[in-house]
């Protein structure tokens, strides 16, 4: 797959260097200041010297509350997504690792207290036998590098703790990619859908807004609404068995990416949200197995994540 932008080539070069263990060569290779910042050491626990640099784009994938095919997660195992470390954390999910101080917070969590008696008293703390090539794993004890981009396909009203973490993440310029169901998140949180995502699938009728509708269509044709890095190598999409939305609330400040003439759907089905700090991409489609396996859709998701994570300009 040809990549035409200079940023994309930097991205590939950095990945190669990281895999070769040549992190120090990155600074000397003449890459941009922004690319160098990705290789900054991750802060570890107090008193511990950072031992590695972050090179991959770290992506949190959160779903919940709505059923979908396992092909969504399978999609991210496509080599197209190499260079991204994608971790599902489904609802009830923490968004703390997306916020700026996440790595330090998680790494410095207090050690569990060993009980003196009781059913679990035989054990105690964590034992580790880490293989030499051990990567980061959930609850593996290594400091979390922190996520750069949050990909959502949940449908829920988030808790206050989740909302605070998201607000900090938006302020810190993290990226967001919203798929399908997640356009119905946070019905009672206007800041989210008015200032960040720029769109809302309305679940129930309100004073001035009618309920949105969802319709399954056998064929859905999408065309680019203009030129944008996200649309490189995507082309027109022809999707099958998709659920399309009509009557969504959409901000006049969004930047359309993909449009359709299908009468069961709103015209704009993919767009960039209005927030100036956090790069946000909203994609209304993405519900069917066929779509998840469509190479053009996968390229759209890949580009959206890279762009939201400031790796594609």
């Amino acid at each position: 797959m040809a990549m035409r932008s200079s940023t994309a080539s930097l991205y590939s070069r950095r990945r190669f260097l990281a895999l070769s263990g040549a992190a120090s060569a990155l600074a000397a290779s003449g890459v941009s200041a922004r690319a160098q910042s990705y290789a900054a050491p991750v802060p570890g626990p107090p008193g511990q010297t950072p031992r590695y640099a972050k090179t991959d784009l770290w992506v949190q994938l959160t779903t919940g509350g709505k059923p979908y095919p396992p092909t969504l997660q399978e999609m991210f195992l496509d080599p197209m997504f190499i260079g991204m470390d994608v971790w599902p954390i489904d609802q009830p999910a923490s968004f703390d690792a997306l916020a700026p101080d996440a790595a330090r917070t998680i790494a410095s969590a207090p050690a569990p207290v060993r009980p003196a008696s009781g059913r679990s008293a035989v054990g105690g703390g964590t034992e580790r036998l880490e293989p030499a090539d051990y990567p980061w794993e959930p609850s593996g004890g290594r400091p979390h590098p922190g996520y750069d981009v949050l990909v959502l396909n949940d449908q829920a009203d988030w808790s206050e703790a989740q909302r605070k973490a998201i607000q900090r993440s938006v302020d810190a310029g993290r990226g967001f990619v919203l798929l399908h169901y997640s356009l119905g998140d946070n019905q009672d949180w206007p800041w989210w859908y008015q200032q960040v995502t720029g769109g809302l699938f309305v679940l129930s009728e309100r004073e001035s807004v009618k309920k949105s509708t969802s319709t399954k269509v056998a064929n859905l044709n999408l065309t680019p609404a203009g030129k944008h890095p996200i649309l490189r190598n995507v082309g027109p999409l022809s999707l099958r068995n998709e659920d399309v939305f009509k009557g969504m609330w959409q901000s006049p400040q969004i930047t359309p990416l993909l449009q359709t003439s299908n009468r069961a759907s709103d015209k704009t089905v993919a767009w960039i949200g209005p927030n100036a700090k956090a790069r946000t991409v909203c994609i209304q489609v993405g519900s069917s197995r066929e779509t998840h396996r469509d190479p053009h859709f996968r390229m759209l998701i890949r580009n959206s994540i890279l762009w939201a994570g400031n790796r594609l300009i």
Partner: protein, 259 residues
């Protein structure tokens, strides 16, 4: 582990209704209206609350699993689907909630089991609802930790990351075609309490385990089949063909398709 407000779990009434309808529709796709012996098993995978590798989701798209119609339905309202027109035959859980399920989830799961359907509990989920006695002692037959024990509420004894040899125990249909196999490095729970009423299926060779049982059938219920398998944390394990073979057999048996 995430804490979450009750509000998030409760969601909206509209969301509840559409979830129910959506799960049924997804599960019913490609499921002809024939007898339950002929149609493909409807399998619902319900993770949530903890990081899990992509590979555990992708497992359900493995060619081995193509005899199932699988959907992913995490919390909240993960089990509302049992009230749909096409309820799941088997629910596979891998959730890890620091709080217990909301009462609605408990009621729906109770209904699912009372209808004689199947439950497969993987890795993280062996520790969910640890303070719900009926669940831990009658349904799962295990405790990951004791919530009445101060200091053990957030962390069980984990062992990360041994390479184990897993061997079948007995002659149960689930283990009948499985030879001892080496499991890639994984997070293990050597300190678990396994009920004496549970039927062991698989054991580990790791000598640090208090009870070497890592796969078992839960204590008998009046209806419903329950199987637990404590491995399943790392990417390596979740894409391991032996791990997937075990999970596939467990789904088949809990769905009444393996005798």
């Amino acid at each position: 582990m995430a804490r979450i407000s009750r509000r998030t779990f409760l969601g909206t009434a509209a969301g509840y209704a559409t979830t129910l309808a959506g799960a049924g529709e997804l599960l019913a796709q490609a499921t002809p209206a024939t007898s339950s012996r002929q149609r493909r098993l409807r399998v619902q995978f319900s993770p949530g609350g903890h990081t899990a590798p992509l590979q555990i989701y992708a497992m359900f798209e493995d060619p081995l699993f193509q005899d199932f119609d699988s959907v992913v339905l995490p919390h909240p309202d993960a089990f509302a689907s049992v009230n749909s027109a096409a309820p799941p035959d088997i629910i596979v859980t891998n959730d890890w909630l620091t709080t217990e399920w909301p009462q609605r989830d408990k009621d729906n799961m109770t209904k699912h089991l009372a209808a004689g359907r199947g439950l497969v509990v993987l890795h993280h989920a062996v520790g969910t609802n640890d303070a719900w006695d009926w669940w831990t002692e009658k349904v799962l037959g295990c405790h990951l930790y004791d919530t009445a024990d101060p200091g053990m509420k957030t962390q069980a004894r984990l062992k990360q990351f041994p390479v184990q040899t897993i061997a079948p125990v007995g002659d149960h249909p689930i283990v009948r075609d499985i030879e001892p196999f080496q499991l890639p490095w994984d997070e293990t729970f050597p300190n678990m309490w396994i009920s004496p009423k549970a039927t062991p299926l698989f054991k580990t060779d790791d000598p640090s385990f208090r009870d070497p049982t890592v796969g078992w059938i839960g204590p008998s219920l009046p209806a419903g089949r329950v199987v637990c398998f404590s491995p399943g944390h790392t990417r390596a394990v979740c894409q391991d063909p032996n791990f997937r073979h075990v999970v596939h057999n467990m789904i088949l048996w809990t769905g009444g398709r393996l005798a």
